[in-house]
């Protein structure tokens, strides 16, 4: 249906383009259109070379053909090449046309050459096949003899085949086993090997565990260490016994194991309630105890991977260990080696996260513990100890930082300025150690200068001879000068402290009276001094001058009587000056002493609390 619609669209497009170009040509025939029309005429006259020459001209970029004209020219050029017996040339022309318009159809031009449509469609198919993604490969293992395998409903007699990418439906049937079906997502170019463990229809499955760990027996026959997960056993009635070396009593019960059925007993023989789990692990532990390990695994993985939640290292290590234990049990029950590899990887994650993590002795048996210890031996863990709050002399001292790798490794210590993890490094030290690597740091920079107050980040990492890299451990710390007691400044001198430097006396100085007299005399004598004697003519000076002279004299007398004067007191001036100088000396002495105390203040290095 879709193919038909595509064809219709392509035909419509072709016709549309042809009609449009014809209409345009009718209105205003372009150079390309004229050349194509001439070429078409030459094809009908069976002159392919002339037609090809005209079409090459039409396709010349200088002619400026439209898309529709180019499509016509390419198709007609392909026809000329077919007519001349040059199939490769025809395919090239069709490829060009399909690159311009992938849905192009040429059915309407079939009369030009009998092989046109077939060749054109063949090229289209080739192009589409080339564009298709590379297939993947599916391989199935672990199938019993006589098993019937169907992939997408097709019976496979072999166990390995190339398949198209996407979801593939797998069904397996075998005599004596329960049918199996699954869906597998195949990615391009990827080989997927799937181990299929068919469940025998005459076998039962059992899931059981105990805290502390124990060895499970059915009718006295050892099944394995707890946790036992979906372990296949012949169906029937059994006496289940779990012997825990660290538990005072052996647990026993009768169990009826039905064929093809899973009997999930969960945690048996609990004498006392299990200890409270930390909140992030509570649900996971609950599923674990009920032996729903798929669900438990999902929750443990969430704790391990959720770095945003800032779970402590010990908690994440415990979650990783529990995830590993669940995976190990699942691997044994389902006989899937890939799950066992995942279990080892999770043990590695636990010890990378917290090298000192030690699971509870009753949590796992010797078999699982051996796997855990092997994983621990491969992991390079690093424990860093920093003093929380240290006071050191200002001129230099030693701050001891220890880093303890779990095995022989080169430990690298870096210090960067501020909280930026990727900043300029101010100090780098390397030590190779199989035990404790001690960094006796004199809190000087690489250039020898003293570390200035501020925030810094200590970054420690290790690498062993095999190239195994430890987790990067970061500690933020602050460098500051110790707060020291400084002397208080002497209180400022109050006015009361000073003796009066002048003595206020009643009456203005006698000079005021003298000034009054002088002004009066000057006023009266002004005319005589400045006037022209010829004009005075013996006439007396105007009375105005006497009025003013008298007024000035009276004003001077009033000023003398109402005013006051001050007399300096030299001994007080001297004493006050000495007081001021002493105060200045005291201030300077206090400032100098405070500077000295600050300079001699010890350097305080405070590390932030390490995450638990």
């Amino acid at each position: 249906m879709r193919c038909r619609r595509t064809n219709a669209v392509g035909l419509a497009l072709w016709l549309g383009l042809t009609l449009a170009s014809t209409a345009i040509a009718g209105a205003q025939e372009t150079a390309a259109s004229r050349l194509i029309s001439l070429a078409r005429q030459q094809i009908e006259d069976i002159n392919p070379d002339s037609a090809a020459a005209l079409l090459r001209q039409a396709l010349d970029s200088r002619v400026g053909a439209t898309i529709a004209e180019k499509l016509r020219a390419f198709i007609l050029y392909g026809v000329t090449e077919l007519t001349a017996g040059r199939t490769d040339g025809a395919l090239r022309a069709f490829r060009e046309a399909l690159a311009l318009e992938p849905t192009l159809r040429v059915d309407s031009l079939a009369e030009l050459h009998e092989a046109l449509v077939v060749t054109f469609e063949g090229e289209r198919a080739t192009l589409q096949a080339a564009a298709r993604p590379a297939p993947g490969i599916l391989e199935f293992r672990g199938l019993p003899a006589g098993a019937r395998l169907l992939v997408d409903g097709v019976v496979w007699n072999d166990r390995r085949r190339q398949v198209d990418v996407g979801a593939r439906r797998v069904q397996v049937t075998a005599r004596g086993y329960f049918p199996y079906s699954d869906s597998i997502q195949v990615a391009p170019g990827v080989t997927i090997i799937r181990d299929i463990a068919l469940v025998r229809s005459d076998l039962a499955r059992l899931s059981v565990t105990r805290e502390p760990w124990g060895i499970v027996y059915l009718d006295g026959e050892r099944v394995g260490e707890t946790p036992i997960f979906e372990r296949q056993v012949p169906a029937g009635s059994y006496t289940l016994r779990v012997e825990s070396p660290s538990a005072p009593q052996t647990y026993e019960q009768l169990v009826e194991l039905a064929p093809g059925r899973l009997t999930r007993l969960g945690t048996v023989g609990l004498v006392v309630p299990p200890p409270m789990s930390p909140p992030p692990l509570a649900r996971g532990d609950s599923f674990y105890r009920s032996m729903e390990l798929d669900s438990a695994l999902l929750l443990y993985r969430r704790v391990v991977r959720d770095t945003a939640a800032e779970h402590g290292a010990a908690l994440r290590a415990r979650a990783a260990t529990r995830a590993a234990m669940a995976l190990f049990s699942m691997a044994a029950g389902r006989k899937d080696t890939a799950l066992a590899d995942s279990a080892r990887a999770y043990f590695g994650v636990a010890f990378r996260t917290e090298p000192r993590y030690e699971p509870d002795p009753g949590e796992m048996g010797p078999e699982m513990r051996a796997v855990m210890e092997a994983a621990r031996a491969r992991v390079l863990g690093l424990v860093v100890n920093t003093p929380s709050d240290t006071l050191l002399p200002p001129s230099g001292g030693v701050l001891v930082i220890t880093a303890q790798p779990t095995h022989q490794a080169v430990v690298r210590l870096r210090i960067t300025r501020g909280d930026a993890r990727e900043g300029p490094t101010v100090r780098v030290d390397l030590r190779e150690s199989g035990g404790e690597a001690r960094f006796a740091w004199d809190y000087h920079l690489s250039d020898g200068s003293l570390l200035s107050p501020g925030r810094y980040t200590l970054i420690v990492e290790g690498r062993d001879a095999r190239g195994e890299v430890s987790p990067v451990i970061e500690r933020s710390f602050r460098v500051a000068r110790e707060v020291v007691d400084t002397l208080a400044h002497p209180p400022p001198l109050t006015p009361d402290a000073f003796a009066p430097e002048t003595l206020s006396l009643k009456r203005a100085p006698a000079g005021v009276l003298l000034a009054g007299v002088a002004l009066g005399v000057g006023t009266v004598g002004l005319e005589r001094a400045l006037g022209n004697s010829a004009l005075a003519g013996g006439k007396p000076t105007g009375t105005g001058s006497y009025v003013v002279a008298g007024s000035v004299a009276v004003a001077a007398v009033i000023g003398f009587l109402a005013g006051h004067r001050t007399r300096p007191v030299p001994e007080n001036i001297l004493r006050n000056e000495e007081l001021r100088q002493q105060y200045t000396r005291d201030l300077e002495a206090v400032a100098a002493e405070n500077d000295r105390r600050r300079e001699n203040a010890r350097v305080r290095i405070q590390f932030d609390e390490a995450p638990q």
Partner: protein, 225 residues
């Protein structure tokens, strides 16, 4: 006689300087003041051997702006001088405009330049004199804040007269006291002012001499320090 008077003037000036220098002075503040002025003027004039006297009261005002050691004073005054109604001594209308730029190099010393426009109008003529000169003055503290004795002398070396002969000498002197408390407020002044104007003799007549004696009273307000 003249030599004696000159010696007396010198003595008075020296006495005033002696008093002013040690006593110190007022603060060099900045401020504005406006004063209403009243002049009681007496003018004596000698021409062709006859002395004529005139008197009258003038009113006006002055404004002073001072910024630190620099001050600008602008004043205007107008009034009448009454003669004896004869042709040779008619009544006159006087209008005087004055601008003074002062510099106080010390709180007690005032030096500066003066520009005066003096218009004297009568039924017979209108005389306009433009005077440009320099002054020196003293401010002598008289014991109470803001109370100072004032001495001021002005000499006009450059003159220009329209409607009369040229001036051969123009000068003035003024003594008195000023009360202007430094905290601002009222301004009181009283002074005696003497002005001398000698008009040059020409081929048409002898020299004409004029002198004006004025009692200046002022009352105003003062802002600033």
């Amino acid at each position: 006689m003249r030599a004696r008077l000159l010696a007396l003037s010198t003595l008075v000036a020296e006495l005033l300087l002696l008093v002013a220098l040690p006593v110190g002075a007022q603060t060099r503040g900045s401020g504005l003041s406006g004063v209403a002025l009243a002049y009681r003027a007496e003018q004596r004039m000698r021409y062709l051997g006859t002395v004529h006297d005139q008197s009258g009261t003038w009113f006006g005002g002055e404004g002073l702006a001072r910024v630190g050691p620099i001050g600008l004073r602008v004043s205007g005054v107008t009034g009448r001088l009454s003669g004896d109604t004869s042709v040779t001594n008619p009544d006159r209308t006087v209008r005087i405009s004055e601008a003074t730029l002062s510099l106080w190099p010390a709180p007690w010393l005032d030096l500066g330049a003066d520009v005066v426009a003096r218009r004297v109008e009568s039924s017979a003529s209108t005389v306009v004199s433009r005077l440009l000169g320099g002054h020196a003055g003293l401010a002598i503290p008289l014991g109470v804040d803001g109370l100072t004795g004032t001495v001021r002398g002005v000499y006009y070396p450059a003159t220009d007269v329209t409607g009369d002969e040229k001036l051969s000498l123009a000068l003035s002197g003024e003594l008195g006291f000023l009360y202007a408390p430094s905290r601002g407020g009222i301004v009181l002044r009283l002074s005696y002012r003497f002005e001398r104007y000698d008009y040059a003799a020409t081929t048409l007549g002898p020299a004409r001499l004029e002198q004006v004696r004025t009692v200046v009273a002022g009352l105003g307000i003062h802002f600033g320090r």
